[in-house]
């Protein structure tokens, strides 16, 4: 199907089904129950799942295949976002031009950054990308170009939002007092249909499904790249770049292409972020945001197809769900216990939720790195093996297990 072999096609179909039924899957607990706290099926978070999934898929094309660790990918996401918001301010609130332009602009910028940074490899490459990203962050945060030319380019700390009185040459003038809203040919991104089944409530959001379609396309592209001769070249760069050079092949164009492609993925994610929530702030370019995508990719499994999507989902889930569990909620949970005991449990649990959700993330990240270096994908495989009681391929004969050449 679509030029994929059976295994990949199955994976794509599974991801598509998961994306389609996400509003059900992510809302397993009835409204009003104590567990409803853990429901993730509301539009904002579902959109974030797929958008950051795209971001991580793109990052994986660079990091997972070539092994080049970029610490500046959030900059491309930010550039894409700014490009998208300017399209919405100048052209139209329709999301299509915004998304296309964000991909193109991010591609151009990543070409420039990659052109320079890829002269070095290893840690020097990482530092170069980090430096570029922080430079761009500073430019955006203090709106240096805007000040230079006496206008506004990034809006500095306040960021940019579509205003009522923006030109928007393709759109008809807004009605008096109306707020500009992002839409796809009239279908507003915020439009949702709520389906109540018993005490459950499922939300189907237009913006989410548009982002999910983009994610599926991005995922399909990524599979094709992984399986192509180009992907094979990238893998050979990862396993031994020197050998590639000695064979008479110049690896630079390949790595640069991978860098630009992953930059465009980041731009697409940035554009979609703006399409779903029409606002840009410079913080999304900060180096911690770049670090986040590294964590997502490694958490899920670098170099695997589905890993980055899982990793980004897990991280975003924790950021949005764990951080909202406050002491009051905990008190509710443990109220059935005797006083002393409930205080104890609240104190312990409180260490890992609410504003301390970073601790939980850190612990999970460490456990994954130490025990399942292959990330969630490897964890899944191991559990699968345990369940099916499949005999582990014996490594002593040296032939059964195929390990990468690293």
């Amino acid at each position: 199907m679509f030029g994929l072999d059976k295994k990949d096609a199955t994976l794509l179909v599974v991801v598509a089904i998961l994306a389609l039924f996400a509003p059900f899957i992510l809302n397993p607990f009835p409204e009003g129950s104590a567990m409803a706290q853990f429901n993730a099926g509301y539009p904002d978070l579902m959109q974030r799942f797929v958008i950051f999934g795209i971001f991580a898929i793109g990052f994986n094309i660079l990091f997972g295949l070539t092994g080049y660790l970029s610490f500046g990918h959030a900059a491309f996401l930010g550039v894409g976002s700014y490009a998208a918001i300017w399209m919405m301010k100048l052209l139209t609130m329709n999301v299509i031009p915004a998304i296309i332009v964000s991909v193109i602009v991010a591609g151009l910028i990543s070409f420039l950054v990659g052109w320079i940074s890829l002269r070095r490899s290893g840690i020097y490459f990482s530092i170069l990308t980090l430096a570029f990203a922080m430079m761009m962050y500073q430019l955006a945060y203090s709106d240096l170009f805007g000040q230079l030319f006496g206008g506004v380019l990034t809006g500095g700390e306040t960021g940019l939002q579509p205003k009522v009185n923006d030109p928007r040459i393709l759109d008809a003038a807004l009605a008096e007092g109306a707020t500009p809203k992002a839409h796809l040919f009239g279908l507003e991104m915020g439009a949702s249909y709520k389906l109540a089944v018993g005490s459950w409530e499922f939300t189907f959001n237009a913006g989410y499904y548009i982002a999910a379609v983009a994610m599926l396309a991005a995922f399909y592209m990524s599979i094709r790249i992984f399986r192509s001769p180009f992907g094979l070249m990238l893998r050979s760069v990862k396993s031994n770049q020197q050998r590639v050079s000695y064979t008479g092949l110049n690896p630079r164009p390949y790595t640069l292409a991978a860098f630009v492609i992953s930059g465009m993925y980041a731009g697409l994610a940035g554009g979609l972020l703006v399409a779903m929530d029409t606002q840009v702030g410079a913080e999304r370019m900060f180096w911690t945001a770049s670090g986040e995508v590294v964590i997502m990719t490694i958490l899920g499994g670098a170099g695997t197809l589905i890993g980055p999507v899982l990793g980004s989902g897990l991280l975003k889930y924790m950021e949005n769900i764990l951080s909202k569990i406050n002491k009051g909620v905990l008190e509710g949970w443990f109220s059935f216990m005797p006083d002393g005991m409930s205080d104890f449990f609240i104190a312990i649990t409180n260490l890992f939720v609410g504003k301390q959700w970073h601790i939980t993330t850190g612990v999970i990240f460490m456990l994954v790195i130490i025990f399942v270096p292959g990330g969630l994908v490897e964890l899944g495989k191991r559990i699968g093996n345990l369940l099916t009681r499949k005999k582990q391929p014996n490594n002593t004969d040296g032939s059964a297990k195929a390990e990468p050449a690293e």
């Binding site: 509301y42 960021g159 007092g177 709520k194």
Partner: protein, 446 residues
């Protein structure tokens, strides 16, 4: 080659199906029963408290959250006392929730980042059904969340945000601010500075390199220059800077005799400490004592800077040592619950919550448009700032501004600032149109 068999009936059928499919989203959006976003239908109503729990303003955020919890207790009538409800000039609230509905709340972490703040606010609106969002400890976040609330159709009651933009060029019909702003700081400070330091001073500005810094610098510059001061230089410092020595050194060479620190939070603590360590305040320049001014003061900052704040002028929205009934009632119930006096951030958040609840009660509805109408041009008293007006034209509160000075002989670790003057409202009032921006129309959502 593929052969297609299209029958007239088949085309019509699939056309009808596709058309229905395209029409579905519009039908569904129009179908929603609620009159406005998150209309509370049960016996309770949910408010969203969106404050920084991590990052540079986490202290302020923690204090804001305490104030919100206190406000909820007072609204539900479950607290040890009724706090400012006793002194508030409007007596609509009964202590049985809002419109008889029990007040519940959800909290979120803004991380002082506009993206994170919006994500958190969106989850409150979409998942928890919050009908009002409040909080924030920086103007970038306030502007971002205010725009979101406008789009989503809920009310936003701004927390600590001092930039002119929040109710200036970025004002929104669904957003309201009780806190004062840079312009008011400048207007209140200038006369006091002229009285104490004379009218022929040369000022040197160090400004935090972001939106709030710019508007504060602008406001202080304009109002002091009107008094006859001269601005020698205005230097931008990165927000993440922690050591300001390299910025302090050139100050003396410039011939300036006043240093204005347009810094807030940790920035101000560090820059002031550096300046004092350099011995600036012991210097004589142009035969005048060298002086330092901090336009926006808070008790938490004074605590951080310790003895360095002694004798330094600044402005503040509210201070716990105020002697009016409202302030005392608030300080008493906050102190009883938490064991220390509240900060100005806590005060403004507490007041905002009560004001919202009161507006709902008076309007008889949670509908954002009705609430906005009740708040617009609402005059009240007994909330710690004397007579206050919620101006309808830009949704900004107009009230007295406090000019404070670091205390020479503090009696406790909380008693760090003394009130020099209460600048009357008339002196800090400005025309609503000077900052540009458009309020737009209120949006009830759905």
């Amino acid at each position: 080659m593929t052969k297609t068999n299209m029958s007239r009936r088949g085309v019509l059928k699939s056309g009808a199906v596709a058309g229905a499919g395209l029409a579905v989203p519009t039908i569904f959006t129009a179908q929603s029963a609620a009159a406005y976003t998150n209309e509370p239908t049960g016996s309770s109503v949910t408010l969203g408290f969106n404050v920084p729990q991590t990052g540079p303003y986490a202290d302020e955020g923690a204090d804001e959250l305490r104030a919100y919890q206190l406000a909820v207790e007072h609204l539900n009538g479950t607290g040890a006392d009724n706090g400012m409800l006793e002194t508030f000039s409007s007596k609509a609230l009964q202590g049985n929730g809002i419109l008889g509905k029990k007040v519940e709340y959800v909290t979120g972490d803004t991380q002082t980042k506009s993206d994170a703040a919006r994500a958190s606010a969106r989850s409150m609106i979409e998942k928890d059904g919050a009908v009002m969002i409040t909080g924030g400890s920086s103007s970038g976040v306030a502007v971002a969340v205010q725009a979101l609330c406008q789009e989503a159709g809920v009310i936003f009651m701004a927390g600590l945000t001092h930039s002119n933009d929040t109710t200036g060029k970025d004002k929104k019909a669904n957003g309201f601010r009780h806190f004062f702003n840079s312009y008011m700081s400048g207007a209140a400070l200038a006369p006091i500075l002229a009285n104490n330091y004379g009218t022929d001073r040369k000022a040197y500005h160090l400004t935090a390199d972001y939106n709030w810094g710019y508007t504060t610098e602008e406001a202080v510059k304009t109002s002091t220059e009107a008094m006859g001061w001269e601005t020698v230089a205005a230097v931008r410092t990165p927000l993440t800077q922690t050591d300001f020595s390299s910025y302090i050194a050139p100050v003396l060479q410039s011939g300036a005799d006043v240093l204005v620190l347009n810094h807030y939070g940790g920035n101000m603590v560090n820059s002031l400490t550096n300046a004092v360590q350099f011995g600036l305040r012991d210097k004589l320049v142009n035969n005048k004592n060298f002086e330092i001014v901090v336009p926006l003061y808070s008790r938490l900052m004074a605590k951080g800077a310790g003895a360095n704040v002694k004798g330094i002028y600044g402005s503040t929205n509210w201070h716990w040592s105020l002697q009016d009934e409202g302030s005392q009632a608030f300080v008493r119930s906050f102190g009883t619950k938490y064991g220390f006096p509240p900060s100005q951030a806590a005060h403004t958040c507490y007041v905002q919550t009560l004001l919202y609840a009161d507006a709902v009660q008076r309007a008889g509805s949670f509908n954002p448009c009705a609430v906005a109408e009740a708040l617009e041009d609402f005059e009240f008293d007994g909330m710690g700032n004397g007579k206050t007006l919620y101006r309808g034209a830009d949704h900004q509160c107009f009230k007295d501004v406090l000019v404070v000075k670091g205390k020479e002989n503090p009696t406790s670790e909380f008693d760090l600032l003394e009130i020099v003057e209460v600048t009357p409202t008339a002196q800090v009032t400005y025309d609503a149109s000077i900052f540009g921006g458009e309020l737009g129309a209120c949006n009830p959502g759905t």
